[in-house]
C-alpha cells in the first residue's frame, strides 16, 4: 500500500512548550485514519504542521511523497481541509465564501456544491455574520467536499453539527472513501471514528501512544469476562492474563488480556463452563485507558 501521509518523529515547540515531542504515523492510500487524543494533545498542531501553516522543528512529514513545508503548494492542489472552528468573513454570504474557497482550491464541481448545500440544508444567501456555529461549520464542509481531492484532512469537522447533519457528513465521507480517497479525521466523537476509520492513531501529550486497526487495538486490551463454572471458580484468579478478579459464589467477573483469551478458556473448561460471556472493549474503553494512563 502506498503511503499518502508519512510522519516520522515530528517535533514542534511553541517557545519553551513542547507541543509535539514524537509523532509518527502514516495514512495509506484509500485509508481512513482516525486521529484521537485528549484536549491539548497536539492533534491540531500536527495537522497545522502537515498543512504548512506552522513549521516543524524536527522530524519528517510528507504528503504524496513530498515535503509538507517545501512543496506545500503542490500538495495543496490535491488536498481539502476543514478546521474545527470555521471562521468566516461576516460581510460575505455563505454562498460567496463557498465559491471563493472552491475557486482558490481549483477544480470544484458546481453540481456537487448545489447538491451538498441542499443536503446540509444551508441557506447560502445569508451573511456569515448571522450563521450559527453549526452553519459556519457546514460552509467549511461544503467547500471542502465540493472539490476533488486525493486527501481530506478534517479537524473535528462535526463540532456544532446536529445529529442529523452529523449523519449526513458521515454518509458523505463514506462516499469519498468508496472512491478510494484517503482521509485523516481528528475527532472527539468516538462513534464517528469507530464507524468511519480503518485505523486509529492515539496521541497524548505530543506523543503517539497507540496506533493500529480497531481490531489490533482491541487485541492489545482486555475484554470484560463473566464466567460461571460447576467447580470452584476461585482457581481462575491465578491464571495468567486475568485481572481485577471478583468472585460471587461460583460466578466470577474479571478482565482478560485478549492475547491470553485462549489459555484462559482452556483453564475454564477444566472447571466445567456453565456460562462464558466476553465483551470486547469499545473504542471508548480504549480511549479511557490511554487518556487516564
Amino acid at each position: 500500500m502506498t503511503e499518502i501521509v508519512k510522519i516520522k518523529e515530528l517535533q514542534k515547540k511553541f517557545g519553551k512548550f513542547q507541543a509535539l515531542s514524537d509523532v509518527t504515523f502514516t495514512v495509506g492510500a484509500g485509508e481512513v485514519v482516525g486521529f484521537i487524543g485528549p484536549n491539548g494533545a497536539g492533534k491540531s498542531t500536527t495537522i497545522r504542521a502537515l498543512l504548512g501553516i506552522i513549521k516543524r522543528d524536527a522530524g519528517k512529514a510528507e504528503i504524496f511523497g513530498r515535503d509538507v513545508w517545501k512543496d506545500s503548494l503542490e500538495i495543496h492542489k490535491r488536498i481539502s481541509y476543514v478546521p474545527g472552528d470555521v471562521a468566516l468573513w461576516g460581510s460575505l454570504t455563505g454562498g460567496e465564501i463557498i465559491d471563493l474557497f472552491m475557486k482558490l482550491h481549483g477544480g470544484g464541481d458546481k453540481q456537487k456544491r448545489d447538491y451538498l448545500i441542499k443536503r446540509f440544508e444551508l441557506d447560502p444567501k445569508k451573511k456569515a455574520k448571522g450563521y450559527s456555529k453549526g452553519n459556519r461549520q457546514k460552509v467549511g464542509l461544503i467547500a471542502a467536499l465540493s472539490v476533488d481531492s486525493d486527501l481530506y484532512i478534517f479537524d473535528e469537522p462535526t463540532s456544532g453539527l446536529d445529529p442529523l447533519m452529523e449523519a449526513v457528513f458521515q454518509e458523505e465521507v463514506e462516499r469519498i472513501k468508496e472512491t478510494g480517497k484517503s482521509i485523516l479525521l481528528s475527532s472527539h466523537i468516538l462513534s464517528e471514528v469507530e464507524r468511519l476509520a480503518d485505523r486509529v492513531v492515539i496521541i497524548r501529550q505530543g506523543e503517539i501512544v497507540e496506533s493500529g486497526t480497531l481490531d489490533e487495538l482491541r487485541h492489545l486490551t482486555r475484554s470484560a469476562v463473566t464466567l460461571a463454572t460447576e467447580d470452584d471458580v476461585s482457581g481462575m484468579e491465578s491464571v495468567e492474563g486475568v485481572h481485577d478478579f471478583i468472585q460471587k459464589d461460583n460466578q466470577a467477573t474479571f478482565s482478560a488480556d485478549n492475547k491470553y483469551i485462549n489459555d484462559i478458556l482452556m483453564e475454564a473448561t477444566k472447571l466445567g463452563v456453565k456460562k462464558f460471556e466476553a465483551v470486547p472493549p469499545t473504542l471508548e474503553d480504549l480511549f479511557m485507558r490511554h487518556y487516564e494512563g
Binding site: 501553516i53 513549521k55 471562521a87 482558490l104 451573511k127
Partner: protein, 537 residues
Amino acid sequence: MKEKFARWDILFLQYLKRDWKKIIFWILGVGLFSGAFVPAFEEIAKGQGLAGMFETLQNPAMISMVGPTPVETTADYTIGAMYAHEMLLFCGLFAMIMAVLHVIGHTRKEEDLGLTELVRSFQIGRQANSLAAMAEVVVINVLLGLFISGLLIVFNVDTISVQGSFLFGASIGMAGVIGAVIGLVMAQIMPASSSATGSALGIVGLLYIIRAGTDVSNVNFSMFNPLGWTYLTYPFTDNNWLPIIYALIFSVMMAILAFALEGGRDMGAGYLPEREGRGNAKRSLLSVRGLFIKLNKGVTIGWLIGFLIMGAAYGSIYGDMQTFLESNEMMKQMFAQSGVSIEESFTATIMMVMIALVSILPIVIVNKLFAEESRQHLSQLHATKVTRGQFYWTTIGIAVIAGLIGTLLAAGGLGGTAVSVMGDSAAMDISDFLAAGYNFLPSVLFFTALAALALGWAPRLGKIVYAYLGYSFILNYFDGILDLPEWFLKTAVQSWIPQMPMDSFDAPVFITITIISIALMIIGYLGYSRRDMVEGA
C-alpha cells in the same frame, strides 16, 4: 429603568479594577503631554519669543492647525495665552480619540467578541455595560482634568492663573467626554465595532477640519462645532466657561440618544440594515485580490472620502489668504521678505500634515492581513494552492495603491479647491499641489514598509507603526512652534524630505527612501514566508 441598568455599579468597579494600569497610563500620558510643557514655553517666551510666536501663529496655516487666539496685540500675548493657544486644541483632540477607542472597545467590541453574551447571562441589566463603560470614561476624564489643572498650578507661572488652569483641565476632560458619547452613539448605529471606531474617528477628524476652515474665515462659526467647545474657552485670557456648558448639554443629549438607540436594537446588530446577500459569488470576488479588495473596501472608501474632504476643506482657506494678508502689515512684510508666497508656505505645511494622515490607510490595510490571520479566517485558504507570497504581495499592492490614491485625493482636493477659490489671482496651479503631495510619497511607502516588516517578523508589533507615525506627526506638528534640534527632528522620516513648493525637489532623497522602503518590504516577505501562522493563540 432599573431593570435595564441593574448592577451596573458592579461592572463599573470591575472595569476600574481591570483597567487600572491602562487608566494610569492614560492619565499620565495625556496629562503630562497637556500640562508639563510649561517650562518649554517659558523658554520660548524669553526675549522676543512671545512677540515672534504671536506673529507666526497669525499665519492661516498655523491657525488651521492649532486654532485662533482672542488676543489682539502682542503686548497681551502672555505665556498663558500662548500655552492655551498652542496646546489646548491638540490635547483635547488627543483626549477625545482615547475616549472613542476606549468606549467602543468596552461596548461594541466586547459584543462582537461574544463577551457581552456571557455577561448578560448573569443578573445584569441589558444596558448596564454601556452605562458602566460610560461612567468609567467620565471618571477617567474628570481625574485627567484635575491632574492637568494641578500640574499647571504647580508650575506657578504668573500668567497661568488658578481659574485658567481649572478651565484648561476642564476643557480637555470635556473633550474626552464628547469623544466618549460620539463613540457610544456610533457603537449603536454601526453594524460592527470596526465600522463604529472608523466612523467615530471620522467624525472627530471632520470636526477638526471644519473648524480649521471656520477658524480662518470666521471664528464665530467654530462655536457651533463640538470640538470648538474645547479651545474656545480661551483659558488664561478670556476664561470663558460657556462652551463647557454647551459641551455638557451636548454630551447628556448624546448619551440619552445612545441609550435609547441601544435599547431598541438586538445585541450584535446595528441600525444600518443587513440585506440578504448573494447565493453565489461574483467573478470579481473569486481571487485573493478580489477577496482582499472586498475585505478592505469599506474602510478604504471611508478614509479616501475623508482625505478628499480634508483636502477640500484646507483648500477653501486659500480664498481668504490675500484678504488676511492685507489686514496684517507685519505678515505682509514677512512674506515679501522671504520671497515665498503665503500660499506656497501654507501648502508646504499642510501637505506634510495631510500626507502623514494619508499614511494611516496603508498601515491599516497591511495590519488587516494579520488580523485576518489571527481570527483564523485564512486557515482553510492556507490549505489551498494559494501561496503566502500571494497573500503578502496582494496586501502590499493594495496598500500602496491606496496610498497613491489617498495622496491624489488629498493633494488634488486641496489644489482643486484652492485654485477655484483663488480664481484669476491664482499663483499656483493644480500640478504644483500634486507635485507637493507626491513629493511625500516615499514617506507613505516607508510607513507601509514598516507595517510590512512587522507583519513578516513580529506581527503583534504592527500597531507600533501607528505609534511611530503619531510620533513623526507630532514632531512635525511642533516643529513650527518649538525649535527642535535637527537630529531629533530627523527621527521622523518626513523631516528628510524637503517641503515643496517652498523648497525644491530632492531626487536623491526621494529615491533613497523609496529603495529603503522596497527593501524593507522584501525583508518583511522573507519573514512572512517562513514564520508560523498565528491562529487564535
